[in-house]
């Protein structure tokens, strides 16, 4: 449903990602992995229309996103940047900002907006601090509030830049479970992850990048067997079977 054709992008004319061709399917989670500076965030920003590509085109359901007006794209693609300002507002107000693309001229939330915001807060388990000031919350709780804002934006494609970085292990899993829930309601999630273990456990597809190009884009199993991760990150990767959870897990070491 989301297709990138010959995308090259970068900053000040210097290419960071070069000639990317990739297609993301509806209702899947894709993790983009790779070393620092390999162009993961640049790729995400280009898809999110925050960065104009130097060349190439992006098609959403067959239509080029560069032919769509800004507010139209905001109803189809949402993006959660890694670092952002934490404004001094209540949790409820921040989640309501996610409804901004749908608001009319006077920007007054309608009943449907309020219902969607309540639902998003319910989904992320933040409803009990809906009236708290977001600056008083912990990093993990703040991240959930931002995810709720993205859910309220109600887009088909959701882009997340390192959603679990800096969070404790429990919050990391909570966030990943919320993301899994999004896939179940048909959203296409594309995220940058540094934690390879979570990337392999939670994704349908892994997109491994190196020096601005895609090395391999396939299911975690295939990517594991290709040994490309070992080469790019210079690590060893082992597969273990967790009997109690009935699933495979990957362990990385030097």
């Amino acid at each position: 449903m989301l297709e990138l054709k010959n995308i090259s992008a970068g900053y000040n004319g210097v290419k960071v990602i070069d000639n990317i061709n990739i297609c993301f399917e509806k209702g899947t989670i894709t993790s983009v992995i790779g070393k620092n500076g390999c162009g993961k965030t640049t790729l995400l920003k280009t898809i999110g229309n925050l960065l104009k590509p130097l060349s190439g085109n992006i098609f959403l359901d067959g239509k080029s996103i560069f032919d769509m007006p800004n507010d139209h794209i905001a109803k189809r693609i949402s993006f959660l940047p890694q670092s952002r300002r934490v404004p001094n507002v209540s949790v409820y107000d921040l989640v309501m900002y996610g409804r901004f693309p749908y608001m009319q001229f006077f920007r007054i939330p309608k009943k449907i907006d309020k219902m969607i915001v309540e639902d998003a807060m319910e989904r992320t388990g933040i409803i009990r601090y809906k009236d708290r000031n977001i600056q008083e919350l912990s990093g993990g709780e703040q991240q959930k509030v931002y995810i709720a804002m993205i859910i309220a934006q109600n887009t088909d494609v959701i882009l997340l830049d390192e959603p679990t970085t800096y969070l404790d292990i429990n919050h990391q899993f909570e966030i990943l479970e919320i993301i899994k829930g999004l896939k179940e309601i048909g959203k296409t999630v594309i995220m940058v992850l540094h934690d390879l273990n979570s990337a392999f456990s939670y994704s349908d597809k892994i997109c491994l990048m190196e020096k601005g190009e895609i090395v391999i884009y396939d299911t975690p199993q295939v990517v594991f067997e290709s040994k490309e991760v070992n080469r790019v990150f210079k690590v060893d990767c082992e597969e273990v079977y967790l009997k109690s959870k009935m699933r495979k897990q990957y362990i990385f070491s030097l």
Binding site: K45, G48, N49, L50, N70, D71, H72, I73, A74, K75, I77, S78, F79, L80, P81, R84, R85, P87, N88, V89, S90, Y92, D93, Y97, G98, F100, P101, M103, R107, D131, R132, N133, Q135, E136, Q153
Partner: protein
Amino acid sequence: MNILHRFSIRRINNNCKAYNITVIFILIILLILSITLSIGIGYSKISFSSIVSFLLSNGDSSSKEYQIINYVRIPRTLTATFVGCALSVSGLILQSILNNPLASPSIVGVNSGAGLFAILIVAFFPSYLGFISIASFIGALIATFLVYFIAKRTRASKTSIVLSGVAVSSFLNAIIDTILIIKPDSAMSRTYFLIGGFSGVTVADLRLPVLFIVISVVIALGFGYDMNILSLGDETAKSLGLNVVRYRFLLIVVASLLAGSAISIAGLIGFVGLIVPHIGRFIVGYNNRILIPVCALLGSIFTLFCDLLARTLFAPFEIPVGIVMSFLGGPFFIYLLSKQKRGFIDA
């Protein structure tokens, strides 16, 4: 100051509609009160009944009281009301869109632009002294457009706007200082302009600036919610569909129209534009939609109050209102700073 403490608790719960409406209602009453006092109090006392009969326009138009109200008090009161409102809203807009709690109208170059044009008139065209307010208004606009032009070339980031404002200001100030050395006679008028004041303004001087101020405040009121979105940071705002660069430019134009209009009638009384937005946030929190009307009202009240003191404190002598503002505002601002809870002073 117990009441301020209570305010700071309510501030956190800024969803409280009833509280916000109450605040605005109280401020409107205070504004009406200040306007009445400003008309009534001064070198010659005016009775309340003659203010009422003036407002109902059935007073004796030849009486001394009527003349004072009509030609001295009314223009002065109107000036203080609109100037205070304009500078406060301008400061609020700049602080929130530049994410900079130190921002005030002077940061986009309006002060030095207005100052330069005023000094040009004083030094080289003394026979056109009557046009000094229009000239300084034009100067303020030219300076801001210069700032935009430079900032736009650097893609209008928050820092580049501030830095180009500083650069343009210092360049224009250099021209002002040069003129002062060549034409030392113009220094007196300059001092008056620098400190600012409301005396000697006529209703005719007010027409154009007030028109600009009213239009700009109405526009600003309409953009309150978009300013909230802008405060999420450029990337988040953009992914929510807001055209960040266009909105930031538009809001800066509005802010400089406000500041330019205010400066052109009252000279450089910049302090109100810095502190009123902070006081406003202290009372109602960070939602710009409520903050804009609150700052507009607070700015007018604060300015009227300072002007009242300026006129009466050492009557029959009058101190420039800018000085009173700094005397009152400085310590009060320091008090707020020392009282601040976490996150109070971040725009």
